[in-house]
């Protein structure tokens, strides 16, 4: 069996479970949408102010929703001790990590794609001008976030205080990703020269690669006892 088969099997299993239960979908969609609505409502009708905070509001909503999503992906593993069984299969630990990462990333990217037009409407944010680059920013930003969230969710999965520990541990590490994603989104939606987003996108690619290699290398030490 190729490792790719294992990665796809694990990711497919996670996505199928979520499509069936929709527990994470309902929680994260509701949470992200409410966050955006409350922030837009708090700012009021000042169009310039709304636009200026829109990228930050979008990524804050995605980040908090992403924590819920990552934590839940391991909660499902614990119901019948399924993660124990998953670790007994003859597949590399990295394949398990990449499978869960793929599922988390696809889910977060879909959530981001849904929240982008909501943000555009609520915050009067122009998104059509650089839409392909904006979607690339969402893809790279959510990938970086999912890399960290999937790793730390595994680290805290067996802890009693996992709900509170997960954000405490992961947010300091994920801040560079969020800052780069916010700055790239600002450049693509508000600046006259969207080429400035290129630097931030390169930084996002760099962070993603570093985190990917590090998490794959270290994951087995997190799950092996």
């Amino acid at each position: 069996m190729s490792d790719l088969t294992a990665v796809l099997a694990v990711a497919g299993k996670d996505l199928r479970q979520e499509l069936r239960s929709r527990s994470v979908t309902v929680a994260t969609l509701f949470f992200a949408a409410i966050t955006l609505v409350v922030l837009a409502f708090a700012v009021g009708s000042d169009q310039a102010l709304l636009r200026s905070i829109a990228p930050g509001a979008l990524w804050v909503a995605l980040a908090f929703a992403g924590v819920i999503s990552a934590a839940q992906s391991y909660a499902a593993e614990g119901e019948e001790n399924a993660f124990e069984q998953l670790l007994l299969y003859p597949v590399p630990r990295a394949a398990i990590y990449l499978g869960k990462l793929l599922a988390n990333w696809l889910y977060m990217a879909a959530l981001a794609a849904l929240m982008l037009p909501v943000t555009a409407v609520l915050f009067d944010l122009p998104i059509s001008g650089n839409l392909p680059l904006l979607l690339l920013t969402l893809a790279l930003g959510t990938l970086g976030f999912a890399l960290i969230a999937t790793f730390y969710a595994a680290l805290t999965a067996n802890l009693r205080a996992r709900e509170s520990l997960l954000p405490v541990l992961m947010f300091p590490v994920v801040v560079p990703i969020l800052l780069a994603a916010v700055r790239a989104t600002i450049a693509l939606t508000q600046l006259e020269n969207p080429a400035l987003a290129g630097d931030w996108l390169q930084l996002l690619v760099g962070f993603d690669l570093v985190y990917l290699v590090t998490c794959i290398a270290v994951f087995r030490f997190v799950v092996d006892e």
């Binding site: 069996m1 088969t5 294992a6 099997a9 694990v10 299993k13 199928r16 479970q17 069936r20 239960s21 499902a76 119901e79 019948e80 001790n81 399924a82 124990e84 069984q85 998953l86 670790l87 007994l88 299969y89 003859p90 597949v91 590399p92 092996d224 006892e225």
Partner: protein, 238 residues
Amino acid sequence: MAAALSSGRDPKKGGNGLLPLAAPLAISLDRLARRYGRELVLTDVSLTVGEGRVVVLHGPNGAGKTTLLKVLATRLRPSRGRGTVFGFDLVRHAHEVRRRTAMLSVFGGSYPALTAAENLSLAARLYGSTSTSDELATCLAVVGLADSRDKLVRTFSSGMKKRLGLARLRLAGARLWLLDEPYAALDEEGKSSVDELLDDARRKRITIVLASHELERVAPFADAVLQVDHGGISLRSD
């Protein structure tokens, strides 16, 4: 009981040594220990099991039976000592050990939001099995889950989850089975299917290490019964 293992404390090793009569080694443990935090759960376990043997672990709750099975399955690393399965080191060649090992744990290990067929299909892919959907259906039928193949595992009783675990075991194509309380939560029909499974595995010369409180039930299959207590093992003489 057909005793296929000789036993006795090995004075040179200082552990509880068990030697195969005449078979290639499936398991070899040398002064293996495992601790959880400060608590020593396995202490200086030395054990050899020949290929195709059936060894039963018996002992009170918390004696270390499950820990020993998990160490053999490479789920837990030994804190001290070393061990091999089919010649592969439990730590350095863990992946090779996993390729030759399948474990049935007390908990189901299945995904409640997936159906029995989906769970089994996932296991087949992760074991690298080339089983067709018909073969998976046969696997489910053998353990009495033919009518439940498209039902979510969430709706299953404990016994049905255990049966699904048994079906997964059949798929693995492993040479070493590690069974933790395989009769637990099963009705008489389910227990009979475990008996058949053990009988079939024995004919195929699959090595089995089995933790069970049902000694009378497993005695006909067992080559040796090991008493596990306070993390040490010894051969039962009764």
